[in-house]
């Protein structure tokens, strides 16, 4: 009754051609941990699925002068096992690590998490805070855009029909830089963020913040990059006053709705709580006080 084509091209060009040539709905597939479930639930019925995983560069991590390039479809488990990424971007890695279970970790990817465009996606606030760059390929060639320009609303992205994300670039880190991500869920795993928060900072030798990027998840139609939170941090140590201001800035920036996962009022409060806790972890890591996993 319904037909569905599946292709696993081995080059970017072939993939782009397939996407451009599809007459009906065409979907890019990375790990499939969102896509297949949404198809089964009848959310949409694509005519064509283009699997990216056989395209060179889509899976794997390379280091280029302190910067890292992570293939868009690289499974979470591969990123977590990468010593360089874990050291430079512990926040991104811990965010990705929160997705699903061990089984899901073998498949789920940064590109899928970003392009599924859920405001509650876990790795996305961390990607925003990291200032990661998405390398987008399509019929018109290749463009590099900040990750925060990709999601435009729940389930919607700025990508054209024939475009997909090939890889992500994470800039080289100055000294005394680190990041962190926390989400709040009612359970301990296999749950969806009520609020998520990612923060990346660079400190000077005295522990004063010189650069910061902060983001909140699940409190608006898309993940938010919150400049007001960063402004509170830059130029300051993480003392009680700064923490209180950060809390207030996060609560002010959060524009949540009340739904089955939490009330708007609760989500605002938790935005402030998480912002403080995440900032503490990021500062501790950047100043060398803490290393390794926090959760």
């Amino acid at each position: 009754m319904t037909s569905l084509s599946y292709a696993a091209p081995t080059s970017v060009d072939a993939a782009v051609k397939l996407l451009a040539g599809a007459s009906g709905l065409a979907k890019v597939l990375s790990g499939g941990t969102d896509l297949l479930i949404q198809m089964r639930a009848g959310r949409f019925k694509p005519e064509l699925i283009v699997d990216t995983k056989k395209i060179p560069g889509v899976i794997g991590i390379r280091e280029e002068n302190g910067a890292f390039v992570v293939g868009g479809g690289t499974p979470g488990a591969v990123v977590e096992a990468h010593a360089g990424m874990t050291k430079a971007w512990p926040g991104v890695v811990e965010a990705l690590d929160l997705i699903g279970s061990t089984q899901v970790q073998g498949r789920c990817s940064l590109a899928g998490n970003l392009c599924n465009a859920s405001p509650a996606a876990d790795s996305v606030p961390a990607l925003y805070a990291a200032g990661a760059i998405a390398v987008v390929v399509g019929s018109n060639g290749r463009r590099e855009v900040p990750v925060e320009s990709i999601p435009t609303g729940p389930g919607r992205t700025s990508l054209a029909k024939d475009e997909f994300i090939l890889e992500f670039k994470f800039p080289a880190r100055p000294a005394r830089s680190s990041d962190a991500y926390l989400r709040f869920i009612p359970r301990t795993e296999m749950d969806i963020a009520v609020v998520g928060c990612g923060i990346s900072v660079t400190l000077d030798a005295n522990g004063v913040c010189t650069a910061a990027r902060c983001s909140l998840g699940a409190v608006a139609p898309t993940v938010l990059l919150v400049k007001e939170m960063a402004d509170v941090l830059i130029g300051h140590k993480l003392d009680a006053d700064t923490l209180a201001k950060l809390d207030a800035a996060a609560q002010a920036a959060a524009k949540p709705i009340s739904d089955k996962r939490g009330t708007a009022e609760y989500r605002k409060k938790i935005s402030g709580v998480l912002a403080r806790r995440v900032a503490q972890i990021a500062f501790d890591r950047a100043s060398g006080k803490a290393t390794g996993k926090t959760h």
Partner: protein
């Protein structure tokens, strides 16, 4: 005969689970795993409305779709006049059950079955559902129990006049029934009291959460013979209910029990089987049906949500003199919440002279409730055990001491009638006091809660057969579906009586045509009642074995002794024969009188009530409101643990479900009365990492009414957790959480409100 003081070789040990390998290798056949050639897929169209009159159903377009072979609606089921048959733990009204299986005039909840189709593929069946045109007149709906009781609330059943009140009400309402239990004089009791505490509590409906959705495969043969493959908590129940709903003879229906992937009470009634049979009858093909998880949530029974108030009065020395409770239980769309057991169980743990309990069974636009472990008791006890904890605080007394002072003992007359006999509550409280968890200091910032629970347990009708194979190995068959490891326990009890290793005994669950009637698996009855039947059948076999040895040796049967799987001459006077073992007798059974076997059916009485006490330590994140369970200990009188690992598993599982009920599980409805969280992502059962290792402590006060001393263990452990956790939270943050689930937003809001 009993084995209470005997030196046991098999019972009480922990052999490997006989059904384990099949299950962990994926070979075990659950309900959804059976298929036959040429079968059709049956699917159900469900109401999108919480309350609506069904104006018309046009199935013509669906019938015309290629691949569709049958469509049924309520017209294909006989109309059943209101009649009530009592089936074990709750009354079952077959008219209601029929209406629940296929709505007749009104859709009473979102998810109510309206029509069903059978088609050659599941996809075609889905497409056909979309072609069925149902005209609804949407009616106002009501979900909440307190609202459903208000005058002016939308009334679900025009013929529902509250039972149990005098005079009979003049107007129909959503209150199906009122239950009262009284002991002593409640006013005198409160007049005597020096300290009084009161509380009002609410609980949300929670689903049993079995991992296996309902499924079945049914074949209606041209000669009217029907076979059904389905998992359930009672294949005799499936047979009886299917026969009743379709107006068939039971003898024409054979139900084969599939492996069951959890029931917890939720599979003590039927949803799909009569529909599958009706579709099969119409199409002439076998019909397979299986619910999705979403259908399980929208269409199958959770337990009640409730609103409960408690008032306790005590003397300054801690003697509780008066106890009053009002319980309002949501029954779902039809009468039949577990209000009775709810009213019975709350105060049955205590010896209180003046008790007054009032319960309401209330319908609202939600799925019909089904049993869930200790139906009603967890709700009732949550309220009572929170109030007892508050009373302890007000008296300045340790909560365990208060319970020790007032707890029920043998001879305590309950407010609902029976007098406690052969109970082990004192021993449970002693074990609680002695446990290292109770003695351990409470860590800074943590809180500790204690709560106790009671369940009466049931016995009832069970059948078992025991056969001796030609080589001396043994077959045990019963009519009880194995939900908690009962095949292992049945085999162990038979092995013990025979004096052979358990590896020589195989236990199976026989279908409805192959064994005598057996009541469903529920009420924690199987190890007790079916175990009694197995033990007695095995004893009969032993008698035969002795007779065969006596015959072989040509001595009187009284002169033969059976021990360790062998017949011995009893003493030197009986003769100096070498022992005859089971294999030797079995080999010659044909020549010594024919096959050796026995069947026993019992209606077991004296189930032996169960008591438990749970200790729980929590840590509360005051900023997020998240509660972490740090340590959990569940102490329970189990009579005698036949297979201790499965008993511990029952206790751990019950506690885990109770923790979910306490902290995270709830049905969330939108303003249209539609469930918003019909899946395990947003209907939050605890996951493994949410729980610490739950320590199960087995207290064994034998139940003298069972040959090995067993008493039911499956229900008590879900009763104390909610109060234990609420009490622990109060100990940690000083705030009483009266409303379940005690979810992070609620706790944070309570903390903010307290300032």
């Amino acid at each position: 005969m009993n084995y209470l003081s005997g030196d046991l070789k098999v019972v009480g040990t922990r052999p490997i689970r006989p059904d384990g390998v099949e299950k962990v290798t994926g070979r075990a056949l659950y309900s959804a795993d059976t298929r036959v050639g040429g079968m059709l897929w049956g699917k159900i169209l469900r109401s999108p409305h919480a309350h609506a009159r069904i104006v018309s159903i046009d199935t013509s377009k669906a019938e015309a779709l290629k691949g569709v072979q049958a469509v049924v609606t309520s017209k294909d089921f006989p109309e059943i006049t209101s009649e009530v048959a009592f089936v074990g733990e709750g009354p079952m009204n077959f008219r209601d059950l029929s209406d629940n299986v296929m709505a007749r005039n009104k859709a009473l909840y979102e998810g109510h079955a309206i029509a069903a189709v059978a088609a050659t593929t599941a996809e075609i069946a889905d497409a056909a559902l979309a072609l069925i045109d149902v005209q609804y007149e949407v009616l106002p709906h009501v979900i909440d129990v307190d609202e459903a009781m208000q005058p002016g609330a939308p009334v679900l059943h025009a013929d529902m006049f509250t039972a149990g009140v005098n005079p009979k009400p003049a107007t129909a309402s959503n209150i199906a029934k009122v239950v009262t239990f009284k002991k002593g004089d409640i006013d005198a009791g409160f007049a005597e009291a020096e300290v009084i505490v009161e509380g009002s509590y609410t609980t949300k409906p929670v689903h049993q959460g079995y991992i296996e959705p309902h499924a079945c495969l049914a074949t209606y043969n041209p000669d009217g013979q029907i076979s059904i493959h389905a998992s359930s908590q009672g294949h005799f129940m499936v047979r009886a209910y299917t026969a009743k709903l379709l107006g068939l003879d039971m003898a024409d229906i054979r139900v084969n029990p599939a492996e069951i992937g959890g029931g917890f009470g939720g599979k003590t009634l039927i949803y799909l089987e009569p529909v599958a049979v009706a579709l099969s009858r119409k199409s002439g093909k076998s019909v397979k049906m299986q619910m999705t998880r979403e259908e399980v949530f929208r269409g199958s029974g959770p337990t009640s949500g409730a609103s409960v108030t408690v008032k306790l009065g005590a003397k300054k020395d801690g003697t509780i003199v008066a106890a009053q409770q009002v319980l309002k239980f949501q029954a779902g769309a039809y009468a039949g919440s577990p209000i009775g057991p709810g009213c019975m169980c709350g105060f049955a743990m205590y010896d209180i002279p003046h008790i007054d309990v009032l319960g309401y069974d209330v319908v609202s636009n939600r799925p019909k409730v089904a049993a869930y472990r200790a139906p009603g008791a967890p709700i009732s006890s949550f309220a009572v055990e929170c109030a007892v904890d508050d009373l302890a605080a007000k008296l300045g007394m340790d909560p365990l001491t208060l319970r020790e002072k007032n707890h029920a003992v043998n001879g305590t007359k309950t407010h609902y009638g029976p007098t406690h006999t052969n109970i082990g509550f004192t021993e449970v409280l002693q074990a609680t006091r002695a446990h290292p968890h109770w003695k351990a200091p409470i860590a800074e910032g943590h809180g500790r809660g204690l709560a106790v629970g009671f369940w009466f347990n049931i016995g009832g009708e069970s059948s078992a057969t025991v056969h001796i194979n030609e080589d001396g190995t043994v077959m045990v068959a019963t009519g009880s579906p194995d939900i908690g490891g009962s095949r292992a326990s049945m085999g162990m009890m038979a092995a013990e009586v025979l004096g052979v290793p358990v590896s020589k005994v195989k236990a199976i669950v026989a279908d409805t045509a192959s064994i005598g009637f057996t009541f469903l698996t529920g009420g924690s009855r199987v190890t007790f009642a079916t175990g009694m039947a197995v033990t007695q059948a095995t004893e009969k076999v032993v008698e035969q074995l002795k007779a065969r040895a006596a015959q072989t040796w040509d001595i009187p049967v009284e002169a033969v002794e059976w021990k360790d799987g062998q017949a011995f001459p009893a003493g030197t006077n009986a003769g100096a024969f070498p022992p005859l073992d089971l294999a030797a007798i079995a080999l010659k059974q044909g020549r010594t009188g024919g096959p050796i076997n026995a069947e026993v059916s019992v209606n077991a009485q004296g189930a032996g009530a169960g008591f438990g006490a749970h200790i729980c330590d929590v840590k509360v994140d005051k900023e997020t409101g998240h509660v972490e369970i740090i340590r959990y200990t569940a102490i329970q009188d189990v009579g005698k643990a036949i297979h201790p690992s499965y008993v511990e598993g029952q206790i751990q599982g019950g506690a885990a479900q109770g923790i979910g009920w306490a902290l995270s599980e709830e049905y969330i409805y939108n303003d249209k009365g539609q469930m918003e969280n019909p899946g395990f992502l947003d209907y939050r059962c605890p996951v493994a990492s949410d729980l610490p290792m739950i320590e199960a402590v087995l207290v064994e006060v034998p139940n003298p009414r069972h040959p090995f001393g067993a008493r039911g263990v499956g229900e008590v452990p879900i009763i104390p957790p909610m109060a234990a956790i609420s009490n622990a939270i109060k100990s940690a943050i000083g705030i009483r959480m009266e409303h379940l689930p005690m979810s992070p937003p609620k706790i944070r809001a309570a903390i903010d409100a307290a300032g």
